[in-house]
């Protein structure tokens, strides 16, 4: 049973993770970009480049279109808030996260959806051709990616008999290292979803401004200065959150148990290692793949969706 002291500690820890993710997220983006640069034989801008970009953007004057409505102006804050919250409720260092009682995996998918709906609406607000194009494509990508993500999370929920993230991670981390066949399918599906939802190659390209292929960039074309900074930061947080989900579901080993505060340092070191590996992996994936046509994307994501459902079915059939 949790004592008052434990609860206080857990809340402090929750706040610490909130702070940690928001500071660490741009670093992860920088790391992925740097790895890509190395793989492409460039020297790269360094892992700290995203922070410099953010600083530059925050100092600039915001320019918004004449007909921008209130929706356009609040959206960056909503998107940033949602992504921050999402990244903060995924147990990656320790499983004591009191806020996860208020929001389970379904709510986590809900947070992503909330941010997505707002950013799509904001993209349509100005009424340029690019904005609505981006919004339409974003919703197109997500209507398959979102259920696929939900199915991946459900497979893990089924194994641990809970939809609460700490419980899921706790169960998965403290079993012997057995390979769940259902989770293998889920992992494959999850990688596809991660690529699609974070606007990575082969579905989208975060570094392109080539008009015909943009998805995410088309949506945020009208944003500048602090609004753009918040959205970029939110994108970093989203990538961080997704990689965290991947770590939490598929390689949670080494995470600190409930009340095991002495295990924290080791857990943090392990986490950093996992993040670095995952970021490098992402860079490799993006380097070896080519961007696909927009109408191939639904097929690609349909594959993810089917894989995830298959994973769930296998869990039902084999009970593993």
């Amino acid at each position: 049973m949790m004592t008052e002291y434990d609860l206080l500690f857990a809340i402090l820890f929750q706040l610490a993770q909130l702070l940690l993710v928001v500071l660490l997220a741009p670093l992860l983006t920088g790391w992925v970009n740097q790895c890509q640069a190395w793989l492409q034989n460039r020297s790269g801008a360094g892992v700290l480049q995203p922070y410099r970009v953010l600083r530059k953007l925050f100092h600039k004057d915001a320019v918004i279109a004449h007909n921008a409505s209130w929706l356009f102006r609040v959206t960056p804050y909503i998107v940033f808030g949602c992504m921050w919250l999402a990244a903060a409720i995924i147990p990656i260092i320790a499983v004591d996260l009191p806020f996860s009682q208020a929001a389970d995996v379904i709510a986590l998918v809900g947070v992503f959806a909330l941010a997505r709906v707002f950013i799509s609406l904001a993209a349509m607000d100005i009424g340029t051709a690019f904005g609505s194009l981006g919004a339409r494509r974003e919703m197109l990508v997500s209507f398959l990616a979102e259920p696929a993500l939900l199915m991946v999370l459900f497979t893990a929920s089924m194994i641990s008999h809970s939809t609460q993230l700490p419980r899921i991670v706790d169960t998965l981390a403290h079993h012997q290292f057995i390979l769940y066949p259902s989770l293998a399918f889920a992992a494959l599906a999850f990688v596809i979803v991660l690529l699609a939802e974070n606007a990575r190659i082969p579905v989208d390209n975060p570094s392109t401004h080539l008009e015909l292929t943009m998805i995410h960039e088309a949506m945020i074309l009208e944003y500048s200065a602090r609004h753009l900074a918040l959205i970029e930061w939110a994108s970093s947080l989203k990538l961080f959150a997704y990689i965290s989900i991947g770590i939490a579901l598929f390689v949670p080993h080494g995470i600190a148990e409930v009340g095991n505060w002495a295990g924290l340092p080791l857990a943090i070191v392990l986490l950093l290692l996992k993040l670095m590996l995952a970021g490098a992996g992402l860079a490799v994936l993006e380097t070896v793949m080519a961007k696909m046509r927009i109408f191939r994307a639904p097929e690609f994501l349909g594959t993810a969706f089917l894989l995830a459902v298959l994973g769930l079915l296998i869990h039902f059939l084999l009970g593993a």
């Binding site: 925050f58 100092h59 004057d61 320019v63 918004i64 004449h66 007909n67 409505s69 929706l71 909503i78 808030g81 921050w84 009682q101 208020a102 929001a103 389970d104 379904i106 709510a107 809900g110 947070v111 959806a113 909330l114 709906v117 799509s120 609406l121 349509m124 607000d125 100005i126 009424g127 340029t128 051709a129 690019f130 904005g131 609505s132 919004a135 339409r136 919703m139 197109l140 997500s142 209507f143 398959l144 979102e146 259920p147 939900l150 199915m151 459900f154 929920s157 089924m158 809970s162 939809t163 609460q164 009208e222 602090r226 918040l230 639904p298 969706f305 459902v309 769930l312 079915l313 039902f316």
Partner: protein, 669 residues
């Protein structure tokens, strides 16, 4: 128990009588339209509020019954108010409260006999729905059901000068009656041939039918009520009739009338029939999934805002049917705690859908008044002209997309929890069906968000696509109040799920003998079954999101600055951009049309590049109409023309027919 001895049923009866009085008064006050608008509709809204309160009161009270001195000689009208009726009375009252308030402003442009008749029909419609919920014998039920159907038919055809609306009304009437016949037959089966007195619901409860006849009654009821609810393949009337009606009527039809069909299915399946079979549940689940995906797919390609909402209603009815199917499966296998969870999700979603769909439908009414346009391709940019309507409708749009912390998310969450808890059913085929069903539900929910982004984005955001939109005016004060109430209900239902679930437990207790309860034991966390398994707290969620947002905005302002400059949007080096370059409704739906192409019957006329007057035309139709309905129509026409051979209108021929019939009969006798 109270000392005076007034029962909720008495109060409900008085409220119905008051509604009758209001409707008739409307008919006599044709000369004073201001009175109808500013007095009768608000009074009607007050009655709705009281009715909702009565329903809430009835949830916790023991069932009360009443026999009226009206009706057939051996079968007087029976009334009964139990928790199930009580819950649907709340739904009816709460939704019609908003709609009636909105109507007080909306019908201002009407006058004379049109308004008077409309007022009468509107109240008859409300009364019909109320009595459907209160009826306790088949005769009373059918009378109320027909009152509801006919009143809504006349409301749909309010603008009967337009041929399309007459056609839509006819189709509606036709399918409503095919459904009504099936319902009547279902009652006939349940009555079991025991004389006219057995047509009371009480007699049916004690009838103990064999499995075969139970199944027959269930299938007939599913077909009959499904026709009213718009379950595939009986959905074709819905996207025609709902857009044709005036917007408040569309709101009532989509928000409330469809739920009376859900009520009917629940009443027959769990209350009147004493045994249930597992395959009923699988059937309902399968039909529900088909309906949900079909509805949302078609909603995505619509260009007319009311048709889009009508298809979205089909989707939501599908979700409700999935919930009913799941409840049935769990109940049959004796897992009543899970059945209670699935039932709670179903009822919760009914209530949610009543609120947000009514809100969105009356909102389209406000847009129609402001612009005179239903085609989304001619709207756009209304957020700047209609701040109230757009703000309130945003709540509805977010709620229907199933986003936390609003109400649509709660019911979706509960339904998904029911799916997640389902392993361990003894039938392995059903066990395998469950994850697939959950996946389809998730897909439908994600597509619903697509549809709603399209709906809101094309109508309210961007630049106005027509010049006339510059003069659009915002909703009036009554309209704002009506929409405000519905939006508030969406928020409250989203934030206080523990209270709502607690009230719904009365219904589950009555129908299943089990209730969900709340394992968390406090009002902040919603935790069905077990806190270890799952919990959700919308209030903390909202506080966290708001807190993080505020913190961010304060920090950004403090650390940097809040300077903003306005300028033209970025034109990509091409300055001649116009409002016509935005996505139209068709354009936004195009990817869905392309992905699900086999399901649509697509007609397209694409101009050639050398066309001097290029015109593009595209239409996506329902294949089922061509596969299922047109053959039936042709067959009916054939039969009626064959019957027509006998009809020549000459009197001596008919006399000959009579004579031949008599001779034939005499031969037999």
């Amino acid at each position: 128990m109270n000392a005076v001895g007034i029962l909720p049923l008495d109060v409900a009866g008085w409220l119905v009588q008051f509604w009758i009085a209001l409707g008739v008064a409307g008919l006599f006050l044709q000369r004073a339209p201001q009175l109808i608008n500013n007095v009768i509709f608000p009074l009607s809204a007050l009655t709705s509020l009281l009715l909702a309160a009565t329903g809430l009161w009835a949830l916790a009270m023991p069932t009360s019954v009443m026999v009226l001195p009206l009706g057939l000689p051996d079968l007087p009208f029976h009334l009964r108010l139990d928790p199930l009726s009580g819950f649907f009375l709340i739904l009816l009252g709460a939704a019609s409260l908003g709609v009636s308030l909105f109507s007080a402003g909306y019908f201002k442009t009407m006058a004379g006999s049109t308004l008077g008749l409309l007022c009468l029909e509107y109240h008859l419609f409300l009364i019909g729905m109320t009595l459907v919920l209160l009826a306790d014998d088949a005769y009373m039920f059918m009378v109320a059901w027909e009152t509801m159907a006919l009143a809504s038919y006349f409301l749909v055809t309010t603008d009967h000068a337009i041929p399309d609306i007459r056609k839509a009304g006819y189709l509606y009437l036709l399918i409503a009656h095919v459904g009504a016949i099936a319902i009547l037959l279902s009652f006939g089966v349940m009555q079991g041939g025991n004389g006219i007195a057995a047509y009371t619901f009480d007699a049916m409860r004690g009838a103990h039918l064999t499995t075969f006849w139970s199944s027959a009654a269930f299938l007939l009821a599913l077909f009959g009520f499904g026709a009213k609810a718009g379950v595939l393949p009986m959905h074709v009337w819905l996207p025609e009739a709902h857009p044709a009606a005036p917007s408040p009527v569309s709101a009532l039809m989509s928000g409330v009338m469809l739920k009376t069909a859900i009520y009917g299915i629940l009443r027959v399946t769990f209350d009147l029939l004493d045994t249930q079979l597992w395959w009923w549940g699988v059937l309902a689940l399968g039909l529900g999934l088909l309906t949900a995906v079909f509805g949302v797919m078609f909603a995505a390609v619509q260009g007319d805002m009311k048709r889009l909402l009508a298809y979205s209603s089909i989707e939501n009815i599908g979700l409700l049917l999935v919930g009913i199917g799941l409840t049935l499966i769990f109940h049959v296998y004796g897992k009543d705690a899970l059945a209670a969870l699935a039932l709670t999700a179903t009822l919760y979603h009914s209530l949610n859908h009543a609120m947000f769909k009514s809100l969105l439908f009356v909102g389209t009414g406000a847009i129609l008044h402001a612009t005179g346009e239903r085609n989304m391709g001619r709207l756009g940019g209304l957020i700047r002209r209609m701040p109230w309507a757009s703000g309130l409708m945003l709540v509805g749009v977010l709620a229907i997309s199933g986003l936390p912390p609003l109400n649509g998310f709660v019911s979706e969450w509960l339904l998904l929890q029911a799916f997640l808890l389902s392993p361990g059913l003894p039938n392995s085929y059903i066990n395998m069906l469950v994850p697939v069903a959950a996946a389809v539900i998730a897909l439908a929910a994600a597509l619903a968000a697509y549809v709603m982004v399209k709906f809101y984005g094309v109508i309210f955001l961007g630049q106005p696509r027509e010049h006339a939109l510059e003069h659009a005016h915002d909703a009036g004060i009554w309209e704002r109040i009506g929409m405000g109430w519905l939006a508030l209900a969406c928020v409250l239902l989203g934030l206080a799920p523990v209270y709502v679930v607690g009230q719904l437990d009365h219904v589950s207790q009555m129908l299943l003998g089990a209730q969900l309860g709340n394992a968390a034991g406090n009002w902040i966390f919603l935790a069905p079954v077990d806190t270890e398994r799952a919990s959700y707290s919308p209030l903390y969620f909202l506080l966290a999101v708001l807190g993080v947002m505020l913190l961010t905005s304060v920090l950004v302002r403090r650390l940097y600055h809040g300077r903003v400059r306005r300028s033209d949007p970025w034109d990509c080096g091409f300055p001649a951009q116009t409002a016509r370059m935005q996505d139209t409704a068709e354009g936004f739906g195009q990817p869905i049309r392309r992905i699900f192409e086999p399901f649509f019957k697509i007609e397209r006329d694409v101009p050639s590049p050398f066309d001097t007057h290029p015109r593009y035309h595209g239409q996506s139709d329902d294949r089922l109409w061509y596969i299922l309905y047109l053959p039936i129509k042709h067959l009916t026409e054939k039969f009626s023309s064959m019957a027509g051979l006998l009809q020549h209108g000459r009197i001596h021929l008919y006399l000959t027919y009579t004579f031949v019939t008599l001779v034939v009969l005499l031969v037999f006798v």
